[in-house]
């Protein structure tokens, strides 16, 4: 193993910010208060689609609790914002397009009073027809969400490779199926909170908040204020979870707070309750996916045709990029000669959808891995066999025409590791042979519909022990690392050594709970022979280091790790130069930096303490601070046919889920998940394991429980009593296994892990449920009703049982 060459990298290191977080000392945005601070409270209209006629504040205007009101008229700069298309108003002034929309913000000292006053704002509106089914969004008579755009189409990504018709003609079998996945909520534990503080004179505005991407927030706030970027300073408070969710919503809340702060000259805080958070924040896209696949008797896939509609909801947000990842990865990690894919993102009056951990991959993985298992069943193969036949190898060509090379293409390695670890094929076959006797669903349905005594015969009895069925299922994926052809991909890291050998470190990427500060500290410590605790990580502020883009796409370790390593190596070279001069050694001398000491490679006894060396350099006037910069290699993309090297490298994963299904209640217990991932080099073993535990649990939530269901644009599940995420009791053992493939990029080949861990679990569980029950479920989540009745039952809003 290559790990042996490292002192710290790959070992388990406790998070730097762990103690303050578990002891409640960490300061989150809502823990921070300023003297003279005001609060902002939103005014909404209970309608999904309407034209605004007028907003009448006369009933509250003179109320003493009201300091001011902000609406679209108070915005000096851009009235609408958005990462790709600027279609989302800070305050709505023409139309309401979804119930989360905000028309105005009341500002005052007491939130309680403002909450009462907002009921008295009178908004006159003209209701418009509501569009909730994305499959109808492109019909000619569909209501237009943004009429000025002329269509409800946000984006269309076509991909054309080979000749699918020829591929289907060469196939012995063709399978066709439709799959759906729901909107889901990020469910970060800390709801949105932000404070804008006006600065004196011409210094601009300072914003502190629960912000995932401070540089993006800065762009939006500056645009809304009509100010230069440098006049807006964004500082990240400790962040209580994000999962991709504290981007657009926090940009908009920051802009609202800034507008109010400048209007009143006082600090303004906005903080959401859970209901408001779920109502207004964006979701993971609901997908409608049609897959058609042709394959030979031997199991070789000849052609795949995919048609996907992504429900983007009311605003475009990240829909073009989310669906772009989908089009690149929709065929899965399989070499297929003929592919025809269309992914369309559309507008509806549903809550808008944007970035969420996974970013366009969990949906197609559910579809693609389900259909792979169906192919296996049809051909009498095991799921691992069919994947072995079609899986990528070194030199394989992806659906986008990219050759996979110059790194370990480990699809089959992770698959074999997972299969071996779980004795997969044998157990899968055994489960397939379980008694085929099942509940006569039709008879039961009829009985339930027509209550009255009915008699079952002896052969209909399901013995209690037959009710619990074991299942095992697997899913594999490949994932393009970082942003790919989405945009600029470069990161800064500031490293400053002090006279005593301690150090400051700060990257332009944000600590969003993933443990990134510790990862970077390990990298710097490894290069300089320090311990991670010698490195003091600074608070992120857009004023300190260069714009490093957003902290998304599992790019922090890869890109920021690369930048940190560059910075540490730069300073190490400066120190080596000082030491050569000091000890009068030739230019060719190599040094070892370890255990807070430095010595020439061939003279281990001639040691100098790292602190002493820093002191030496300090008195020589050597610059001990630097900014490391790491930028990704160029990628390119032909939009018209969806071809090109989409990402500069890939990671691979395989998860096996073991479940027990209770056929009489529909309950699914996740007994064990074995998660094998190739993230490249593991920097912090504890951090990597943490990503797997969290990702698998979140992925199981997607598979079994989580759904934001929408009724005429209105979200039913507005709090965690109805929106159920998994607890520690809902999931059994999680076994993380890392296969560390060779890679040229990043720090020592450290790539991505965050999203791969969560994108596979739902698909693996669905395949395990199929193995247990003999039935295939096409619609996430596989909740009790889906398993038992084969369909979702949406409860009414009646609180019959408090």
């Amino acid at each position: 193993m290559k790990k042996s060459k490292f002192n710290i990298v790959g070992k388990p290191v406790i998070r730097q910010d762990g103690l303050e977080k578990v002891t409640g000392q960490a300061k989150f945005a809502d823990d921070i208060n300023y003297p003279n601070q005001l609060y902002g409270v939103m005014v909404r209209v209970p309608v999904a689609h309407a034209k605004i006629r007028s907003i009448d504040y006369s009933a509250i205007e003179n109320h003493p609790a009201l300091t001011t009101i902000c609406d679209a008229n108070d915005i000096p700069g851009a009235k609408k914002v958005g990462p790709i298309k600027q279609d989302q108003p800070i305050f709505c002034y023409q139309k309401i397009v979804t119930p989360g929309d905000v028309v105005a913000m009341l500002v005052g000292e007491s939130e309680e009073e403002l909450l009462r006053l907002r009921e008295l704002v009178n908004v006159e509106y003209e209701p418009l027809p509501v569009l909730t089914d994305p499959r109808k969004a492109l019909e000619p008579d569909a209501p237009l969400i943004h009429p000025e755009l002329g269509s409800n189409l946000v984006i269309h990504h076509p991909l054309r490779k080979g000749d699918v018709e020829k591929g289907f003609a060469e196939s012995d079998y063709i399978l066709e199926q439709t799959y759906t996945t729901p909107f889901i909520e990020h469910a970060y534990i800390e709801p949105e909170a932000v404070i804008a503080i006006p600065r004196e004179g011409n210094k601009g505005v300072h914003i502190v908040g629960s912000i995932q991407n401070p540089y993006t927030t800065r762009k939006v706030v500056a645009a809304v204020l009509g100010w230069p970027l440098a006049k807006v300073r964004i500082q990240q408070a400790e962040l209580g979870g994000s999962f991709g969710g504290k981007d657009d919503i926090m940009n908009i809340l920051s802009a609202r707070a800034a507008v109010a702060a400048l209007k009143t000259g006082r600090p303004v805080k906005i903080r959401y309750r859970r209901e408001e958070s779920i109502q207004e924040s964006y979701k993971r896209h609901a997908y409608y996916m049609h897959y058609k696949v042709g394959f030979t008797r031997e199991g070789k896939i000849k052609a795949m045709k995919i048609d996907i509609i992504a429900d983007g909801g009311a605003y475009s947000s990240m829909t073009p990029f989310v669906t772009w990842r989908t089009v690149v990865q929709a065929t899965g990690p399989y070499e297929i000669e003929n592919v025809w894919t269309d992914v369309r993102g559309v507008y509806t009056n549903n809550p808008y959808a944007g970035a969420m951990r996974g970013f366009g991959s969990p949906q197609p993985i559910f579809a693609q891995e389900s259909i792979m298992d169906e192919i296996a069943v049809q051909l009498g193969m095991t799921p691992d066999e069919i994947r072995r036949i079609n899986g990528f190898r070194s030199g394989s060509i992806t659906a986008t025409g990219q050759k996979l090379e110059k790194h370990d293409v480990n699809v089959l390695t992770v698959l074999e590791t997972a299969v071996r670890e779980t004795d997969f094929a044998r157990r899968w076959r055994e489960n397939q042979q379980q008694t085929k006797k099942r509940l006569d669903l039709a008879a039961l349905e009829e009985a339930a519909a027509n209550p009255g005594p009915f008699i079952l015969h002896k052969e209909d009895f399901l013995e209690p022990e037959e009710v619990l069925r074991k299942g095992i299922g697997l899913a594999v994926s490949f994932r393009g690392t970082s942003l790919g052809a989405e945009g600029v991909d470069a990161v800064a890291a500031y490293l400053s050594l002090q006279q005593d050998g301690s150090a400051y470190l700060l990257s332009g990427l944000a600590e969003n709970g993933q443990g990134m500060r510790t990862t970077y500290s390990i990298i710097a410590a490894e290069v300089l022979g320090l311990r991670p605790e010698d490195i003091y990580y600074l608070d992120l502020d857009t004023g300190y280091v260069g714009d490093s883009g957003p902290t998304v796409a599992s790019r922090a370790t890869l890109m920021g790790g690369g930048a940190t390593k560059v910075a540490a190596e730069t300073l190490r070279q400066r120190l080596e130069k000082v030491l050569r001069r000091h000890w009068n050694l030739p230019e060719t001398t190599n040094f070892v930096f370890a255990d807070r000491t430095v010595y020439p490679e061939n003279q281990p006894d001639r040691k100098i303490a790292f602190a002493e060396l820093c002191n030496l350099a300090y008195w020589e006037g050597v610059n001990l601070a630097t900014i490391g910069w790491y930028s990704g290699p160029k990628v390119h993309w032909d939009e018209s046919v969806g071809q090109g090297p989409a990402y500069f490298t890939y990671v691979y994963g395989c998860q096996v889920a073991e479940v027990t299904v209770n056929l009489s209640t529909g309950e699914v217990y996740v007994e064990r998940v074995v998660a094998v991932h190739d993230p490249g080099t593991v920097i912090n073993l504890l951090g990597a394991q943490g990503q797997v535990y969290g990702g698998v649990t979140q992925g199981a939530g997607y598979g079994l429980w989580e759904e934001i269901s929408v009724d005429q644009g209105f979200i039913r599940e507005l709090n965690f009593d109805q929106y159920l995420i998994p607890t520690s009791k809902d999931i059994g053992e999680i076994v993380p296994i890392f296969v560390e493939g060779e890679e040229r990029y990043g720090a020592w080949g450290a790539k991505s892990l965050g999203e791969p861990t969560l994108e596979l679990t739902a698909a693996a569980i669905a395949n395990a449920v199929r193995n247990a029950t003999g039935r295939r479920f096409h619609h996430l989540p596989l909740n009790l009703e889906e398993i038992l009745l084969g369909r979702k039952l949406y409860p009414t809003s009646k609180r019959g049982s408090v």
Binding site: P453, I455, T727, L784, R799, G800, S801
Partner: protein, 292 residues
């Protein structure tokens, strides 16, 4: 409720003993909200903010500390935390059905605060202990005392429907007496929620039974979450009572209970799922009985 002072509440009281509690009750005829662990109340902001008078029962030993094991049953203070019941050796031995139910409620943190009295007073058809108290034929002791005596009522005299109890004005649940079932009694409790912890039941079922010479001598069946009031499935019980337990009988009982319950569709589940699962749970229970 950091400050102990809800916004609209006029007063918060914490009587130190039963006499103080009854004296307080005598002075305030209306609008009293009694609180033990407050696990249901605190998460309903509107409700605690609109409460006019809050009375914290956790200092009244008779309610918060009473756990008297007698020969024929146990007397439990209405405000005793569920985790004390779960840990109590004699309750574990004689009332395993109650212990199992308490274990399945919420989470450990909730079990450390929640109480039987709170579960009853909250009057949710999804209250997990209610079907169990019903099959155990628990007797509720209601204060304030009249002539030094609590009034004795059964569960169905107190819990009238969703959020509705007969405890008007200043009345409170003081204690609960639970008679011990025979040591060889069969018991079953199961709740089905969407997940394993912190889930409100979609359906639950409590069964207590006793066989004599291969025939069912006594059986009590009570579903939860499927009826507005907690009522035993008496028709299904009578179908089983006095009969030998056979597979055919089990299937008949299942069909019977599916007809007998009239579940509603609400935010947690639907009629269709609830009716079906009530039958499935009864079948599971009776098969377990048949097999052991």
């Amino acid at each position: 409720m950091k400050s102990n002072q809800p916004l609209n509440s006029e007063k918060v009281f914490r009587p130190a003993n039963l006499d103080e509690l009854d004296a307080l009750a005598a002075q305030t005829a209306e609008g009293v909200t009694y609180v033990a662990g407050a696990t249901d109340l605190l998460v309903q902001e509107e409700r605690w903010k609109s409460a006019r008078i809050l009375v914290d029962l956790t200092a009244v030993k008779a309610l918060h500390a009473t756990l008297e094991v007698r020969e024929n049953g146990v007397l439990i203070g209405a405000a005793v935390p569920l985790s004390r019941l779960i840990r109590h050796p004699l309750i574990r031995e004689r009332l395993p059905i109650l212990v199992e139910t308490c274990r399945q409620i919420g989470s450990v943190q909730i079990q450390n605060r929640a109480s039987l009295g709170g579960n009853i007073a909250n009057a949710s058809p999804a209250g997990d202990t209610l079907p169990v108290l019903s099959v155990l034929e628990a007797e509720l002791r209601i204060g304030p005392r009249q002539n030094g005596e609590f009034e004795k009522l059964s569960l169905d005299q107190v819990m009238l429907g969703p959020g509705q109890t007969s405890l008007n004005g200043n009345r409170y649940i003081a204690q609960i007496f639970i008679p011990f079932p025979p040591r060889d009694a069969f018991w079953y409790f199961r709740k089905v929620g969407q997940r394993q912890a912190l889930a409100i039941s979609k359906v639950s079922l409590a069964v207590l039974g006793k066989k004599k010479e291969e025939k069912i001598e006594e059986i009590r069946i009570c579903p939860g979450s499927v009826t507005p009031q907690i009522v035993r499935a008496q028709k299904t019980e009578s179908l089983l009572r006095g009969q030998p337990l056979t597979e055919e009988r089990i299937e008949k009982a299942r069909a019977a209970i599916e007809c007998e319950v009239s579940p509603i569709t609400d935010i947690r589940s639907t009629t269709e799922y609830r009716r079906r699962i009530t039958g499935e749970l009864l079948r599971e229970a009776l098969y377990l009985w048949l097999r052991n």
